[in-house]
Assembly symmetry: C2
Homo-oligomer: 201 residues x 2
């Protein structure tokens, strides 16, 4: 049972069929993903088709929150949309790496911030139609600026703190536009409501 299947559907019934993989062919190896084509067959209809999949390692996105309830946000130029984008830190996990460890590594490398404690709060399939991987979401608590950044060769990152409520407002205004960051904010929201409840009481 895979990581995805473990999450299950509301019931066990199988109405939608899993296709059989007849063959797979590697087409292009890129730094972030490998493009492969697969010949698949529907187990009941017997129909066949060629489908294109991007195989990649899991990704992690981290919501780094300071003791003042601000989020450490990063802005980078994004080559897909040819524009800069305000996001939470994140990246590609190393093979076999734990999501929490990967989150703390990416946070430190991109921003110099270090967490007092971190925990996995959820995750999504990055894009179930074309990507095979999961993006994990980690909440890093009590982060403080501790070290110099260690950017990858082509990285150029603006780091800035935003109050958590302002981060949600930015996402609702469309100023945070990365689908995975918006999904992370969705999954973090119950935690933020709990924090606000504790602060009021």
């Amino acid at each position: 049972m895979s990581d995805f299947e473990a999450k299950g559907s509301p019931e066990g019934e199988q109405v939608v069929h899993a296709w059989e993989i007849l063959s797979e062919k590697g087409l292009v190896e890129c730094p972030v993903f490998d493009l492969v084509s697969r010949r698949l067959r529907h187990p009941v209809r017997g129909t066949e088709g060629d489908f294109y999949i991007l195989k990649t390692r899991d990704w992690v996105n981290v919501i780094p929150v300071t003791s003042e309830f601000e989020v450490v946000m990063v802005r980078q130029y994004r080559f897909g949309i040819e524009e800069s984008s305000w996001e939470i830190p994140g990246g590609i996990m190393d093979a076999g790496e734990d999501p929490v460890v990967a989150a703390e590594r990416e946070l430190r490398e991109e921003t110099g911030y270090v967490a007092r404690a971190s925990r996995l709060i959820g995750g999504v399939a990055a894009n179930p139609a074309i990507l095979n991987n999961r993006c994990h979401f980690v909440w890093a608590e009590g982060v403080t600026l501790e070290s110099a950044v260690e950017w990858d060769e082509h990285e150029e990152i603006e780091v800035r703190l935003f109050p958590i409520d302002e981060v949600y407002a930015m996402a609702h205004r469309g100023e945070i536009k990365h689908s995975l960051v918006v999904a992370a904010l969705f999954q973090f929201y119950p935690q933020w409501e709990k924090i606000k409840g504790r602060r009021r009481s």
Copy 2:
């Protein structure tokens, strides 16, 4: 100014630089996207690199809500994760198609439901790092089952209604796992709170 840039950042200041495109080479044309490599140069550092981009048309996801405040959900087998996935209807827009028109078309083709009224409620960059496109989110109100489904060649779709609050609970439990569907639910939430407010008053 592009669609993305119009959404802006919290301020106009340009700290993160846009890279210059020196050349582009098409590598593989797939049904959903074309893989291209681009030679890019940083305008200040002068460093160069090869980057891989997936070029595709915009996508649309539709949140179809009945008069009983249920969402029309679809379950399909997803070739990327090799599992089935509960999602909202959606798909690739035709060239030049309006997101609302595309949403109503995808809704009808996948489920047979037709909307009384539809409106664009937002959208995200599908994945700003590797994809060049936007996924638009449309709210379809007062949907009713009116026509037979028109599935594409390889489609096999289970259709079921879920109360809106249950859809949010499924997403928070990880049972809705598609990043773009979770992002759509995030952007729809203020509308759902307004609806609930009106029902209570």
